[in-house]
């Protein structure tokens, strides 16, 4: 019953999508608004149907209805309910179903929140989204059908992949990832919609697009960080990024979206880079589909790749359609996307954005190249190659260092042109901080130029971004007599977009610095201990094996070691690294235990043990500052949230700056961004506004 209901919902949703697309096209070309309205209805109904299908699948999973193909594949009576529910996205078919649901949700929200907007943008965008939905619905009734009948009905299933039921972050990372990843379809649909509707010249669509991109970007950022955290907590190698194709798949669109979020400001303010921005939006979406294709088709070998089937051909066809359609639309309209302005000076914010985009697209190119190179090499030279971390690190670390530098320069520079006096004022303090960090790094024995560069420019960028806050708040203190914290809050509230951006910068800086520190100062030791024996780690730090234990759980057997962490002779903590033996798999799943402190982690993995409990082999890894990566991810998300929070038009009394005459900071300029920067007379403003 559940099976039929779920499958029927998908089929009807598929029909709705086809109907909606036809209604949109007919309604728009024949100028019949009623038809367009009906097309909107189909989008809402589609969302309802997909919700029904997802609900049915969760119900089937929870009730262990093994006649449903997907449940028979990932379900098991002994799996805890939490992991049963989230196994919705634990394998190919379910993940496509979840994808379809997220996409249908976004479509409905996009259309609903903009349904009164005049012009062809929203209907065309809606139709584009429905076309993408249609593709996923075709997958769901075709190669990724989760509803196929299993007969006779098995009594029990194998349960989810052990790695996917071993950590709570399995409930966090995938949904965030889908929300962010699928969210990139919305800016794409706006771009295509604007092109089809002939509204690509309007300033309106780019504002809408920016806001949606920012939200999706924030979710994707969090998802990537959560994924790093998950792999760190689960996989037992003490690392968090390995340049695996799946990781790259999530990272490539993030890079192009980041580039867009910066370059869009140049378009909003100066009317430049229009064609470039459309290209970035389209590329971001295409990269999400490419990434999915790479990991679902099995053409690139990856530790994460799902089992393959014919689904790769569907994705290939879909990429071809999207790529060709986008290229035709963008290239065909490129003449109308010429820049209205031009660069005024080398030392200006536009220039920094230009370089930022150059580096970010260069970064994307390196990642795309490294990911696809095995394919290229085989096609042209007939050789098998794998591209690993050394290539990516060598190529991307310099780009990261350069981006950190720009992150410090950009916020400090005014639009159009900076005077020498301004430059001096803004860069003296950050430069001093940089110099101090370089000296300190050398004194403390660091020799890797990139690590020193990363720390130095992280310090530079951090000082520069913090300085923007402090100077801004101090100006309020002087002008309004507010207390500093109040001034700070009001400063941000009055100018969310700008200060949210700086906060996101700080988050990125934290992540970058923490990654540099944890990889530069990582230290590991491995030893086989008998209970009571102590393994010295570093300095006063050592660990003592207390005992080994075993435990039976319904879905697995657990072998664990109680390990005390000692500082000198004092016990400062206790960890219990384990090995989980899932009944469905003969390979044990190592489950490291981590003690996290702001100063760093102690990470212990149980490598081996003797069955009689007389000894255990432990690997202890000390990684400084790792938690700051996760925390930095939250800061990025918070910054993006502040930035994307819809700005309501306020009463004039809330205008914060009486001292600034030209354009009061914090009052949004209609239709354009409100970065709080006067385009008229930058040099006449106090430093914090330029």
């Amino acid at each position: 019953m559940t099976r039929i209901l779920g499958l029927a919902a998908i089929w009807v949703a598929l029909a709705m999508a086809v109907g909606g697309i036809v209604l949109s096209i007919v309604g728009l070309t024949r100028k019949k608004p009623a038809l367009v309205q009906s097309a909107f209805q189909t989008i809402y109904v589609t969302f309802a149907l997909l919700s029904l299908a997802v609900g049915a699948m969760i119900y089937a999973l929870v009730t262990h209805d093994f006649s449903v193909g997907y449940v028979a594949q990932v379900g098991s009576r002994s799996t805890p309910t939490f992991y049963t529910v989230i196994s919705l996205w634990g394998a190919l078919e379910g993940s496509i179903l979840f994808w379809g649901w997220v996409l249908a949700m976004y479509s409905a929200v996009v259309v609903w929140s903009n349904r009164h907007r005049p012009g062809g943008l929203v209907p065309w965008s809606g139709a584009t989204l429905q076309l993408i939905c249609l593709f996923f619905f075709i997958l769901l009734v075709g190669p990724a059908n989760p509803w196929h009948l299993v007969s006779p009905t098995p009594l029990d299933g194998p349960g989810p992949n052990p790695l996917l039921q071993n950590h709570i972050l399995m409930g966090v990372h995938p949904p965030l990832l889908y929300l962010g990843y699928v969210g990139m379809s919305v800016p794409f649909s706006f771009a295509i919609g604007a092109l089809l509707a002939g509204e690509i010249h309007s300033a309106d669509w780019i504002v809408l697009t920016r806001r949606w991109t920012l939200s999706a970007w924030a979710l994707l950022s969090m998802a990537i960080i959560a994924g790093m955290w998950w792999s760190y907590e689960v996989l037992g190698w003490g690392g968090y990024w390995a340049w695996d194709p799946v990781e790259n798949a999530s990272f490539m669109p993030w890079l192009t979206a980041t580039a867009f979020l910066h370059s869009v400001m140049v378009q909003e303010r100066r009317g430049m880079l229009k064609l470039w921005n459309v290209n970035l939006i389209v590329s971001t979406f295409l990269l999400t589909i490419l990434g999915t294709f790479l990991t679902r088709s099995g053409i690139i070998s990856s530790v994460h790749a799902f089992t393959t089937g014919t689904i790769g051909y569907y994705f290939l066809g879909f990429i071809a359609v999207c790529l060709v359609a986008s290229l035709i639309l963008v290239a065909g309209n490129s003449e109308g996307l010429r820049s209205e302005g031009h660069l005024d000076a080398a030392a200006s914010r536009e220039t920094v954005f230009l370089f930022n985009n150059l580096f970010l697209t260069g970064f994307t190119f390196v990642v795309v190249l490294g990911t696809l190179f095995p394919l290229v090499a085989e096609a042209f030279k007939g050789v098998k190659v794998t591209v690993g971390a050394p290539f990516f690190n060598k190529m991307t670390i310099p780009i990261c260092v350069a981006l950190l530098f720009l992150m410090g320069v950009g916020p400090a520079l005014p639009w159009k042109v900076a005077t020498q006096q301004q430059l001096k004022k803004m860069f003296v303090l950050p430069s001093v901080v940089t110099a101090v960090i370089i000296v300190l790094s050398l004194v403390f024995g660091m020799r890797d130029p990139y690590a020193i560069g990363a720390f130095a420019f992280a310090g530079f960028a951090l000082t520069s971004n913090v300085r923007e806050y402090v100077v801004g708040a101090m100006a309020r203190v002087r002008a309004h007599g507010e207390v500093f914290p109040v001034a700070l809050v009001r400063l941000v509230a009055a100018n969310r977009r700008r200060y949210g951006g700086y906060l996101a910068h700080m988050g990125i800086i934290m992540v970058a610095a923490a990654i540099t520190a944890s990889s530069s100062f990582r230290y590991e030791r491995e030893a086989t201990l008998k209970p009571g024996q102590i393994m010295p780690i570093k300095g006063d730090l050592s660990v003592r094996l207390k005992q080994l234990w075993g435990r039976d759980e319904p879905q697995r057997e657990v072998v664990g070691a109680d390990v005390e962490i000692l500082n000198g002779m004092n016990v400062i903590g206790m960890l219990d690294p384990r090995m989980n033996f899932y009944k469905s798999q003969d390979q044990p799943v190592p489950t490291p235990a981590v003690r996290s402190r702001p100063s760093g982690d102690v990470y212990i993995n149980l490598m081996a043990y003797t069955p009689d409990g007389q000894s255990a082999t432990l690997r202890v890894i000390v990684e400084p500052f790792v938690p700051w990566i996760w925390f930095g991810g939250l800061v990025v998300a918070l910054g993006a949230m502040i930035s994307s929070w819809p700005t309501s038009r306020r009463e004039p009394k809330s205008v914060p700056y009486v001292t600034t005459r030209a354009v009061p900071v914090g009052v949004p300029e209609p239709a354009f961004g409100n970065a709080g920067i006067s385009t008229a007379t930058p040099s006449s403003l106090p430093p914090h506004t330029s």
């Binding site: 099995g298 290239a331 007939g382 003969d586």
Partner: protein, 211 residues
């Protein structure tokens, strides 16, 4: 709408990308090409450290096995290790096939890779015995000769001493039996150049042989 520019851009950018990805669909990234199939198997000698419990296959511990001495017979060389989990999966299948084909003179050898022989002995005991003898490979010399990528890998050497097939990962009994059947069929026609499994070696060793 500038159709000319649209068409040109699409052809120049879209075409190559789609072509590359479509080409990728015809490849298997997990396939590890080996120049060996279709070529003479590297000869090896190895000392027996576990005798094997099938009468037709058993050898005394300490005996030396030379591949060269088995010309005219089909020989299966399985690289394994006690720390290898996938080796556990194929263990039963290999022993069964070895036992079934022992009467037809097919020889099976386990070649211990990167491991200590006592571990190997314990492992065989834990797994409930092994039909065929296990050899040690000090310094992994044979493994290097065979271009081992990991364990388990299994090489099937035909009667002429050519590598007929290389298995990467756990071997399945059915697939192995089928291969052995077809090799044994050609016994009567040693000069048959139309051997489907072991094609006549080409002059150039190349990765193309598996395409």
């Amino acid at each position: 709408m500038n159709w000319k520019r649209a068409a040109l851009t699409t052809a120049l950018v879209g075409g190559p990308v789609i072509a590359l990805l479509a080409y990728g669909m015809t490849r298997d990234p997990r396939e590890i090409p080996s120049p060996l199939p279709g070529h003479l198997a590297p000869v090896f000698t190895g000392a027996v450290f576990a005798p094997g419990n099938d009468d037709g296959l058993r050898l005394a511990v300490g005996d030396t096995v030379r591949l060269a001495e088995h010309r005219g017979r089909v020989v299966v060389v399985n690289f394994w290790a006690s720390w290898c989990l996938a080796c556990r999966t194929e263990h039963q299948a290999l022993s069964t096939v070895a036992r079934n084909y022992a009467p037809q003179g097919v020889k099976f050898f386990g070649m211990l890779y990167n491991d200590e022989t006592p571990n190997g002995v314990n492992w065989i005991e834990q797994m409930g015995g092994q039909a065929y003898p296990a050899l040690s490979d000090p310094g992994a010399r044979t493994a290097i000769d065979y271009g081992l990528y990991g364990v388990p890998e299994t090489f099937v050497v035909d009667q002429r001493g050519f590598v007929a097939k290389k298995f990467v990962g756990p071997v399945e009994a059915g697939e192995m039996s089928k291969l052995l059947d077809s090799l044994l069929l050609t016994t009567g026609a040693p000069n048959a150049s139309t051997n489907a499994v072991a094609p006549v070696p080409k002059s150039l060793p190349s990765a193309d042989t598996k395409r």
